[in-house]
């Protein structure tokens, strides 16, 4: 059994990291462990379990910022925000369902995990990712030193923006002990305009058009027919064709006006439907959490691929031609969710070849630990960038005691 250290406060986190450095015994840093399947398996002798560093410590809705312990459950954060009619506008995906959890349970995971993995959702195209809403933190570096960066205000350029480095670093640089995020009002109303039928190219073109309009599109997805058929939303599953979806949010009269304009635009391309309140919410949750690749597809390996939107359809053609499997698009074509029947290398070579000429990155988000051990889970970086990234790691964790190997083998 791996020994688990469970600090009660930031001081104890410091003690634990100092000790780890002194003993050259790496730590696997985690809160609730809901994202253990994301990234490479960590090679560490001990677990640093942060789950006691939990709780919202500061939240004044009028200031639009919230401060919390890193292990504060997302469900708790969402509850507190909902009570003030606010939300995390980057709409972090919930990895729970993808890793076998229930598809209609409250949010899993913690705020620290969401930041460490730089999660986002369909609203990324309008509002940014976790990195864009992460204002500041306190942490213990892999050097065994306490430090902070950023602040508790929305606008701050005092010193280097280390918050950006922490977001998406999967706990490999420092152990966060407090985080501050920007929060925003919930939109009054949400609706989704659906376009039925049409191939991937045409759909992506329509989505790019919508995103390039003044309608402030807050979600732009395309589900090819086979994926649409798996939806839990009746209109979508029953379409018998591909479904292209555009989400509009805001004050009531504005939403109606913009949906009408989009409907007019889409009519020339095919049949148009609208999803309201409950159905709209359910649909975007499916898109956000890769629900089409859960359930009877839980055995598939899943890639999350970010490319320039206009390259999306061609990349998917290459992927499915070469490897089989199914794909759907978020972010106007710029985010591809791709599921394929299990392979020893998860198709990594072919996946990366498919995006080589358009620029982008592919992350293997679901595969067995063996596969994630053998395959580069995150997009390999060109030499000089890789070297710089290693120097950045050294700047925070020179002895490699925090989550070694989680992002790149040997780092």
């Amino acid at each position: 059994m791996t020994e688990i250290l469970k600090p009660d406060n930031a001081d104890q986190v410091l003690d634990a990291v100092k000790w780890a450095v002194s003993e050259a015994t790496p730590l696997e840093v985690r809160s609730l462990g809901t994202k253990a399947g994301f990234g490479r398996p960590v090679q560490a002798g001990r677990v640093l379990d942060l789950s006691n560093l939990s709780g919202i410590t500061d939240y004044d809705p009028g200031e639009l910022v919230l401060t919390a312990g890193p292990a504060t459950p997302m469900a708790e954060i969402e509850r507190a925000l909902a009570a003030a009619n606010q939300e995390l506008q980057f709409e972090p995906m919930d990895l729970g369902p993808l890793y076998g959890g229930s598809t209609d349970a409250p949010a899993t995971g913690t705020i620290g995990g969401v930041i460490a993995a730089n999660l986002s959702g369909p609203r990324r195209v309008k509002s940014g990712a976790a990195r864009d809403h992460f204002l500041g933190f306190h942490a213990v570096s892999g050097r065994g030193e306490v430090f902070k960066s950023g602040g508790k205000v929305m606008k701050n350029v005092t010193g280097f923006d280390l918050s950006k480095l922490m977001a998406g670093s999967f706990g490999t640089l420092a152990v966060m002990t407090e985080v501050t995020v920007k929060v925003l009002p919930r939109p009054e109303k949400t609706r989704t305009v659906l376009l039925m039928g049409g191939d991937d190219e045409a759909a992506v073109a329509a989505l790019c058009d919508a995103l390039g309009s003044s309608h402030e599109v807050a979600g732009a997805a395309h589900l090819p027919a086979a994926v649409a058929a798996r939806s839990g939303v009746g209109y979508v599953a029953g379409a018998g064709a591909s479904v292209t979806a555009v989400r509009i949010e805001g004050p009531g009269p504005s939403v109606e006006h913009r949906c009408a304009a989009l409907t007019d635009q889409f009519k020339a391309l095919g049949a148009v439907e609208e999803l309201h309140s409950h159905n709209s919410i359910a649909f975007w949750r499916e898109v956000r959490d890769a629900i089409p690749f859960t359930g009877d597809r839980a055995g598939d390996q899943v890639w999350r691929i970010s490319v320039p939107p206009t390259a999306g359809a061609e990349v998917v053609r290459r992927l499915t031609d070469g490897l089989g499997g199914d794909a759907y698009y978020d972010w106007g074509g710029g985010l591809i969710w791709f599921a394929l029947p299990t392979r020893e290398d998860a198709g990594a070579t072919a996946v990366r070849a498919a995006i080589a000429d358009c620029g982008g990155h592919a992350t293997l988000v679901r595969a067995s630990a063996d596969v994630r051990q053998a395959v580069e889970v995150f997009q390999p970086q060109p030499g000089p960038l890789d070297e710089l990234s290693r120097r950045v790691k050294d700047a925070f964790d020179p002895e490699g005691v925090l989550n070694p190997g989680r992002m790149v083998a040997g780092v």
């Binding site: 020994e3 469970k6 009660d8 104890q12 100092k18 450095v21 002194s22 003993e23 009028g62 200031e63 730089n118 986002s120 990324r124 990195r131 864009d132 065994g144 030193e145 430090f147 902070k148 602040g151 508790k152 205000v153 606008k155 350029v157 005092t158 010193g159 280097f160 923006d161 918050s163 950006k164 480095l165 977001a167 998406g168 670093s169 790019c208 058009d209 390039g212 003044s214 309608h215 805001g250 004050p251 009269p253 504005s254 006006h257 970010s306 490319v307 939107p309 972010w331 710029g334 620029g359 982008g360 995150f378 960038l385 710089l388 990234s389 120097r391 950045v392 050294d394 700047a395 020179p398």
Partner: protein, 495 residues
Amino acid sequence: MQMPDPDQRVIERRAEIIKAMRTIVPGEGVIADEAMLKAFECDGLMAYRQLPLIVVLPETTAQVSQILAYCHLNDVKIVPRGAGTGLSGGALPLADAITLGLSKFNRVLDIDYPNRCAVVQPGVTNLGVTKAVEADGFYYAPDPSSQIACSIGGNIAENSGGVHCLKYGLTTNNVLGLEMVLMDGTVLRLGGKHLDPGGYDLLGVMTGSEGLLGVITEVTVRILKKPETARAVLLGFNSSEEGGDCVAAIINAGIIPGGIEMMDKPAIHATEEFVHAGYPLDVEALLIVELDGPQIEVDHLIEQVGEIAKGQGAVYSRISETEEERAVFWSGRKNAFPAVGRMSPDYLCMDGTIPRNKLALVLKRTAELSQKYGLRVANVFHAGDGNLHPLILFDANQPGELDKAEQFGGDILKLCVEVGGVLTGEHGVGVEKRDLMGEMFTEDDLKQQQRVKCAFDPTHQLNPGKVYPTLHRCAELGRMHISRGQVPFPDIPRF
């Protein structure tokens, strides 16, 4: 302000360095003539001046790479410079450093509407990006008041803001990719037309790095379709407290306006005299609230904002009825710095951010400080995000006044930190706030930031003397203070 002692050995090699630079950048791109160097002796923080060793104006990334590689080998320092509008002295020259100007990197390389981005060179002005796409109805959202002049490269180096960043984000939220050159000449690409490149977010840390980490040679930014329409409302209050409460009430009602700006009485008077925007002169605080989006939404929300303001004690309210009128509303605010500049031979512009609910307190204490120092102050405020710009009026020709103004400014920034805010919201630390960094950060905080510097520029040759009060050698910063086998097993719950 103490700058690092110039390295005399480098100054002695000046002729040799000029020669080497001329082999890399032919023609007029190497400036060594003292009269011409004068034009580069300061940035927007004009109280500080220094002639650079020389100025080099390269035109290609390959040249930048060769220049940096040469300087790296030959121990020559580099100060990157965009348009020189920075307000914190980030582009202040050093006597022993080459000022590397990016003004010739002025081309728009690629406009890609379907992917909603533009690829431009760093010397293109902020407004130049919008100009390149506006015929097709697009724009680049971050809009610093200096947008006619400042460069997009400088914007990234400072992570600049503007009056619309509450809704549309700061520079950092609108940059997708960079090409940059490290001090040793290595050319790197970060990000691109896709979102959230994996690996450490080096693009994020480059943004706002004030020329300390690398030289930016190409930029990919997000462009947006212009909102259908925009309307602004002027709201006057009898106290800045009421004005501040009104901002909170608007946000608490779930409305995020395109912009919310606030001015105090001295700023209202100064701008009104300068541009005649029609501002009310008998109020203590004036808000400009702008709503943008579809007509129907803007009309709907501006009415709501009017109602909220009434409830918060607004004594003046005027809604723009035409595009011209909206522009007039903004003209005062957008010209606040020059307007205040007319009232006084010199002014210093402060840039702290505070939690918005501390506004009344900070303004009250600022007024007290103004009394204490015997210097006038006018306040403009990005009210939506808590970013305060007190403008301190002084006369540099009066002995001691600059010192006094700087102390006054320092006290205001310390106050910002004391109430839970920060030293700078958008103008950067540069040399101006360098020695105040200890007010906000511990020694360990600052050392950790400098270790990041070491990862990019281990020889401290890029823009030294800026941002960090003490320069530590990278070897010293890297040393571990925990020795092997010396720390006992921690007394922590374990399982």
